[in-house]
């Protein structure tokens, strides 16, 4: 039986719930701000690469050059985290819970506030950077208050500005988490019973598909398994939103139905981060309490552990939600409908558990830490690999089985899988003490974080951007510019990250403004790759801005109206 007979050639439309114009505007504001932040933070990175390449554009001598390098490094790292990749999670989170939750976003005012608070934090980070603050993006105390010679580096005012910026970061991320909880934990949710394969709409393609599924006895009860809106009891709702029910026997799954996987991803993302956020506030409280006497007044090991309790979940914060997004993109462009495949859900309880605990591999090298923490570090670090590997394989197996359309979106998501897979493999190496010994605090870790964040979630975010811009604006972005954006980003990004990995594994130390002479050869290449990534983002910004500014064409208007004139009904075709 040929698949073409049963499935349309074109990607099916987005779910039929139309989010509010207010939310569409907010999502576009987040996207725009993210792109501007990305350009500025990227420019800082190119400044760092230029300094290390000894290009005579930035030419200051000795200590001043180092101070400049570390100020650039700090602002680059924090803005990339809190103004770029976290911003991506937030706009997609707001969009996703409304779109796939099929309901208005709860706390729209708070959602808008989170945007302005995020931008305030980014501006303060830049201000601290301009004041010379350069304690590194993870701001390892007590360096914050002991910069060596404040007259040539930074003073208390810059340090306090930076700490206030991080307080604000904690506030906007907390607001995001609460908005997600409020949206998903109240009112009805779309639910459906988990079955192995297809979920069929009631009124669509009825003849062929019903005859197809009748080949299987299990699917004969398909009428009972249509997706519908349901006000789940609290206990069942939590079980469903974490994905625990996917491990239940089938008869229990009937009473604990599945919710759209994008909602699961949003819920787990928010839950992981709301658990981790106190770590940030503990670290900051320790910092503020130590302003007068930074050497004697705090337990710096505890402060460091508290920071990583926040700061490793923040690495998963940009990632997890987009993993749910992949499960929406793959069927959309693969002309398939596999909304409630149990293996897609089975990973999420593990993401929740291990994303929370995996922070501990950052403390491997802190020998005074207790034995149980060291043991947990290795266990959780290897543990997080399991759901990651499952997600990758379920997406790839699905892709392999489908008739994927290879457009900009799907290429971005498959490249994102590559970046996440390569970076994740390296994460496995750092998850074991015996191998982390050689990699910790080398440029290999810089390569790892660029693979995990730049070439993982950021590419996923681009994939989703290209996919949902038509839903937000009724307009399509330029395909040609999108293609150039894709290839330049991939070539530059992978080149940058893999070269960092190679020289780091050979012993190049990270955060050395004056890099060891043995690795000078690599600096021009790193600058070249960074420039490629930067040029690509200018094209994206141009593409985004011109798409917003121009009027929709007749074809676009017709397509959009056709899409949204279809009856919404209670069924959801896929997630």
């Amino acid at each position: 039986m040929q698949r073409e007979e049963h499935y349309p050639r074109e990607p099916p439309p987005l779910p039929q719930y139309d989010i509010s114009p207010e939310l569409k505007k907010l999502v576009l504001m987040f996207m725009g701000a993210m792109l501007i932040n990305f350009l500025i933070a990227g420019a800082l990175a190119i400044g760092m690469r230029t300094i290390q390449t000894d290009v005579p554009i930035i030419k200051v001598d000795g200590i001043a050059q180092n101070v400049l390098f570390y100020a650039l490094l700090t602002a680059h790292g924090q803005v990339m985290f809190f103004g770029v990749v976290c911003a991506n999670t937030i706009w997609f989170g707001y969009y996703a819970v409304s779109k796939w939750g099929r309901k208005p976003l709860a706390g729209m005012g708070w959602a808008k506030a989170s945007f302005w608070i995020m931008e305030a934090s980014v501006i303060l980070i830049f201000v601290a950077g301009l004041s010379g603050f350069g304690a590194g993006w993870y701001n390892l105390m007590p360096l914050t208050f002991l910069p060596g010679h404040p007259s040539v580096t930074w003073g208390s005012a810059a340090a306090i500005t930076f700490l206030v910026a991080d307080v604000i970061v904690g506030v906007y991320i907390t607001i995001f988490c609460i908005v997600i909880f409020a949206t998903l934990l109240r009112g009805k949710l779309p639910v459906g019973t988990q079955i192995f394969e297809y979920m069929h709409e009631k009124d669509r393609d009825k003849g062929d598909e019903v005859s197809l599924v009748k080949e299987n006895k299990e699917a004969q009860n398909i009428e009972k398994e249509f997706i519908h809106q349901e006000n789940l009891p609290a206990s069942v709702r939590w079980v469903s939103l974490i994905g625990i029910n996917s491990w239940f026997p089938k008869k229990w799954r009937d009473v604990t139905p599945a919710v759209p996987i994008v909602c699961v991803a949003a819920f787990v993302t928010a839950l992981v981060q709301i658990i981790g956020n106190p770590g940030l506030f503990v670290q900051l409280a320790s910092g503020f309490a130590s302003l007068q006497n930074p050497v004697a007044s705090s337990n710096w090991l505890l402060t460091k552990n508290a920071w990583w309790f926040f700061a490793h979940p923040i690495v998963y914060f940009p990632l997890l939600l987009f993993l749910g997004g992949i499960y929406f993109l793959a069927p959309r462009y693969g002309k398939e409908r596999v909304p409630f495949f149990k293996w897609n859900y089975r990973t999420w309880p593990f993401y929740l558990a291990f994303s929370t605990l995996v922070f501990s591999h950052h403390v491997f090298m802190d020998i005074p830490n207790p034995v149980w923490l060291q043991m947990m570090a290795q266990t959780a670090s290897l543990g997080i690999v399991w759901p990651s590997g499952m997600t990758i394989i379920t997406v790839l197996v699905f892709t392999w089985r489908s008739k994927m359309t290879w457009n900009i979106t799907t290429r971005f998501f498959i490249a994102g899988i590559a970046g996440w897979m390569f970076g994740g493999f390296q994460g496995t190496e750092t998850g074991m003490w015996g191998t982390d010994m050689y990699l910790h605090n080398t440029l290999s870790m810089v390569g790892h974080i660029h693979l995990i964040l730049l070439m993982g979630p950021l590419l996923f975010a681009f994939a989703v951007m290209y996919a949902i811009i038509p839903d937000l604006t009724k307009k399509h972005m330029s395909k040609t510019l999108g293609e150039i954006h894709f290839w330049l980003t991939c070539f530059g990004g992978f080149g940058l990250a893999i070269l960092f990995n190679i020289i780091g594994t050979e012993g190049a130390v990270r955060r050395e403004a004056d890099i060891a002479s043995a690795f000078h050869w690599a600096m021009p290449y790193l600058l070249f790759f960074a420039l490629l990534v930067g040029i690509a983002q200018f094209l994206l910004v141009y593409n985004f801005a011109t798409t917003l500014r121009r009027k929709p064409t007749q074809n676009e208007t017709t397509e959009y109206e056709k899409l949204h004139s279809q009856p919404a009904g209670e069924g959801i075709t896929y997630t």
Binding site: G134, P368, T394, A418, M437, T505, E512, A518
Partner: protein, 225 residues
């Protein structure tokens, strides 16, 4: 297990092995993705055939098994385990006090006199366990010892030096030679220049001529593993 550790450079598989594994992974992974992309339109499957396809289940079990295996083989490298077999009262342990500060290393072997004006570089004996007790007088530092005196030598071992605490680490240098010490935790604008040298001498029974000249490859192994 001991064979595996002996094959390993020190506490683990060594940096170059990791590099090769990473490069192979990138190549194999990229090839796999390209194959998936190239063949995705070639499949013709029915609902029934997919229902029988349980690849995910086998992958889940296989991945879990590999991860458990990795956990088991790396267990002896964990600091509490690696150090637990060392007898602190062992007579030939060389105790080295390390003081780290912005931006210097002071390393002193217990029992040796401190001569004013003498270079702070450390001299120890190969083949005898070394107990490093490191303290920081200001911010976090990272004690990184590289397998040679030249820039570009791979990392041999490292530990964080957290202020306010005794940070203890054991290691046995097997090969005489010079080992460069660098700070591996960013500690301020002069962080790249926070370096020192450890000179590992051959055991007294050996000929003095076996001393590895500067530029020679040095190495060693974990004490007690």
């Amino acid at each position: 297990m001991s064979n595996m550790v002996n094959l390993a450079a020190n506490y683990g598989w060594g940096p170059y092995t990791l590099l090769y594994i990473f490069i192979i992974t990138v190549i194999v992974g990229a090839a796999g993705l390209l194959i998936v992309m190239a063949t995705t339109r070639m499949k013709t499957q029915t609902f029934a055939s997919k229902k029988r396809f349980h690849f995910e289940r086998y992958w889940a079990i296989g991945t879990a098994a590999v991860l458990i295996w990795l956990w088991v083989i790396s267990y002896p490298w964990m600091p509490p385990v690696a150090f637990s077999s060392i007898n602190p009262t062992q007579k030939n342990i060389q105790v080295v006090d390390v003081t780290a500060g912005q931006w210097f290393w002071l390393m002193h072997k217990e029992g040796q006199p401190i001569t004013p004006g003498q270079t702070p570089h450390l001299t120890i004996i190969a083949g005898q366990p070394v107990k490093f007790i490191a303290r920081s007088v200001d911010v976090n530092h990272g004690l990184g010892i590289f397998a040679g005196p030249a820039d570009g030598s791979p990392i041999l071992l490292q530990m964080q030096v957290v202020p306010g605490l005794d940070n203890v680490f054991y290691y046995t240098f097997d090969k005489p030679g010079y080992y460069i010490v660098r700070c591996l935790e960013y500690c301020g604008y002069a962080h790249p220049y926070m370096t020192s040298i450890i000179n590992v001498l051959p055991q007294p029974t050996s000929s003095p001529n076996t001393l590895t000249p500067a530029g020679g490859v040095a190495g060693g192994g974990p004490a007690g593993v």
